[in-house]
Amino acid sequence: MARNAMLIDESKCTACRGCQVACKQWNELTGWEYSKTVNGGGYENPPKLTPQTWTRIKFTELDGPQGFRWLFLKEGCMHCGDPACVNVCPTKALKKQVDGRVTVETDLCNGCGYCSQFCPFGIPKLAVEGVFTGKAKASKCTFCQDRTGNGMGPSCVKTCPAQALHWGDRDKLIAVGKKRVEALKTRGFTAANLYGEEVVGGLGRLYVLIEKPETYGLPADPRYPVAAIMWQNIVQPLGKIAIGGTMLATLVAWLVIRRNIKMEEVE
């Protein structure tokens, strides 16, 4: 099955934040975390992704020779082609679907939080009930797995009035994105670029950006974490060999030594 993806054209986003509302509504996420509004000095709200906020528009304020302007970035899970979160998840709560979506099965989650720490983008969030007990649940954007698993698009895509969001076949959307980048370049946005085509196995969330990724606060060169490779591809397999080998050697030692040394002869 071909990979699906979301193309986010940040040159079209007006930061109406309809996507934030649609996300909360469809996924039944509360706004209780922000019952006390915090003024961060800008129009951005809420201030960050949380267990109850899976997508939000990040505002970057730029003050240049052309005057003041905003850059908008619709944050959320990147649905990496090579998802570290899925590999480090010990419960299979996180799964990579055949069409590339990284879905969450909350019932299976035990709250270990490895996904939140190994994600190259720091996306999955942990709702911690108790630090001492470790009771927690992880959550993140699932591309509305119950919609996209049934042939519909994510609810944010459906709601976007600026038509900045697109859902569909990844290869086709890459072509659309590249065309848009070229069009933007001819119109003076020389730094325009398509983000996410190749990195971390190719992202399921593609961005048309009008400035460099770093200007938006996106990592220019996100990498699958080296520690995850070290841990799961080297230490864990070698550990199984080491422990198995020690058990085997001890068994052999036991069989040999019990014949060699008679306990009665030891003073």
């Binding site: 989650c109 035990n110 994600c119 974490p225 230490v235 030891v266």
Partner: protein, 240 residues
């Protein structure tokens, strides 16, 4: 503590000398009782066959148990240090290595496999292997506690990269510790030369004749032990 008895017409006498205090033995078993559940609840994240136990509510319970056992694991040496600081210091000194330990390592194979302890240089209260085990356990404890506490309380506080490497370190320490535990368990319960170790850890005493043969530097003192060792070597070369 001297015991007497009669067996098949022979009178035998075992003279017992103290080796461990009550607190040491109790804490040894507290350590055991925390280490085994720690490994068991950790293995559910490691072995694919056990992974269903890591899912959902069962997984939450595993993580809670891991934390409860961790409290014991962390507290045990701390309690020891508070209750018997001199004994702790004495152990740290006894675990440190000397030149003789090389001689022991050279002869360790024939000692453990063939039971030949004549060639072994005289040992203190702990032989070289026991010292290595002791030092590795101290190092392992430090690494477990440091990486574990960072994973427990540092999530979202320390950098993600530090957290990731703590996971790797915790796993690496587990693997080495489990290998050591397997060997330790075998030596303690099944190796014919080591029966005295389990007696010592249960009742706090060692038989004098065992101590004289296997831990001469402890039994006779370093000077006398070396004299006896040299004399025995000369005797062996004369007769040979």
């Amino acid at each position: 503590m001297n015991g007497q008895g009669q067996q098949a017409g022979h009178v035998f006498q075992i003279r017992w000398i103290p080796k461990y205090t009550f607190v040491e033995r109790l804490l040894h078993w507290v350590h055991t009782a925390s280490f085994i559940p720690l490994v068991a609840t950790g293995l559910v994240l490691y072995l694919d066959i056990l992974k269903p136990l890591a899912q959902g509510d069962a997984g939450q319970w595993m993580r809670l148990m891991h934390r409860l056992a961790a409290v014991l694991f962390i507290a045990e040496p701390v309690i020891y240090g508070i209750m018997q600081p001199r004994r702790l210091w004495m152990h740290l000194k006894e675990f440190s290595f000397e030149r003789d330990d090389l001689g022991w390592l050279k002869n360790a194979f024939s000692y453990y496999v063939w039971g030949r302890h004549e060639a072994m240089p005289p040992q203190g209260r702990f032989n070289t292997g026991e010292k290595i085990n002791g030092m590795m356990m101290i190092l392992g404890w430090i690494l477990f506690v440091a990486s574990g506490l960072i994973m427990w309380f540092g999530k979202g506080v320390v950098s993600a990269d530090l957290f990731r490497w703590m996971v790797v370190l915790h796993d690496l320490t587990t693997i080495v510790s489990v290998c050591m535990f397997i060997v330790h368990l075998y030596l303690a319960v099944a190796h014919p030369l080591m029966w005295a170790a389990l007696v010592s850890m249960r009742f706090g005493v060692a038989s004098a004749s065992y101590a004289a043969a296997h831990h001469a530097k402890w039994y006779y003192g370093p000077k006398r032990a070396m004299e006896l060792y040299e004399a025995k070597k000369r005797g062996a070369s004369h007769s040979g």
